[in-house]
Symmetry: C2
Subunit: 228 residues, 2 copies
Amino acid sequence: MKILGIIGGMGPQATIDLYQKITDHTAATRDQDHLHILIDSYPQIPDRTAHICGSGDDPLPYLVRSARRLEAAGAELLLMPCNAAHHYIRALRERTILPFLHIADCAIAALSTRCPPGSRVAVLSTRGTRHSGIYRDALQQAGYHPVEPDEAQTAALMRCIYDGAKAGNTAAYAPLLAETVATIAADSLILACTELPLFLPWWQDSRPVIDSTDALARAAVAAAQETS
Amino acid sequence: MKILGIIGGMGPQATIDLYQKITDHTAATRDQDHLHILIDSYPQIPDRTAHICGSGDDPLPYLVRSARRLEAAGAELLLMPCNAAHHYIRALRERTILPFLHIADCAIAALSTRCPPGSRVAVLSTRGTRHSGIYRDALQQAGYHPVEPDEAQTAALMRCIYDGAKAGNTAAYAPLLAETVATIAADSLILACTELPLFLPWWQDSRPVIDSTDALARAAVAAAQETS
């Protein structure tokens, strides 16, 4: 069984959500059946969107320090419950010897079990993730038509994520999320920001919704249990 | 700001509960306002109650390994969301240079703000914690009358904790918890097992209820923010 290492705190509630989903997806009837997980909840990592969009401190050295702490503690497989942080994953992979799960790979694998190639997939994310192109490129490679929210829709999503979920006001911003997403023409939706699944107790959509945190959790449980 | 180190996974759901409560009790409107927390969710630590009561592997070497991992990763203050694990805290303190918050101290400090000395305090715990005497001794020193559940009541609490919370059947065991606690004559209750606060969505009592996880979370937030 591999020891999972989570570069977390982006934000803490999204990391709690991942930890909860890993726990829920592990078949267990007693403590000892659960996975060994190391979490570095390090909210001091600078804002990813700000840096990707050209302002603010570079998160990369912070992400590297977090990976090193997890290495030092004994982690064997790294994951990050923050989509925008994956903008830095190539540089991070060069700076750690540990393997890394990629959240977009996990989300698109989950999508492929529910929605056929050729369909339109809305990528609900921060401006940073949109700007990084992570999902656009991977969806195109997998044969899907990525649908990116326009500037007004993205501004509304940013309010839901920053003024809502990250500020502890998730329920209050659920109506804005619902209104915004309703205006996006697509066959399915990817929650490509780990703050967005936090809205699920107060928001739903009739189209298939792919939760990137849940996809990462399921992939992590499978990878940790793989016999190597 | 001190980096918190959590020896966790006893069980994982109790550690998630602590992480959630630390997050809730931190004044924050953005990621970067939150505390830096390292969590070693290590459910492979052998069962505390079994060992305290004379069977099963010794958890101490596992607890020491967890403390060392957190040290290696940079933790500055340790805490354990498991009451029974505090049976080993003296030995653990001798084996790490890091300071340690004691969950019973936190719970009794919280009790003292709500209930006067001289009153009867029921200690709801595993058989291991009861056997260790952690709460009995500390409550007597603080001038309270500890009330320990009898053998039948303890057996029922053990079922709630092991067959209920640890096995993922919390809601189903809430009626048994309610019936059992109703038969205990006391002025207030300490949830002296970190699985017991997991019942709070489905169970309440008219007497003051001290949640040891919540008390530990509040003390951890205060200690992490202390200027040293």
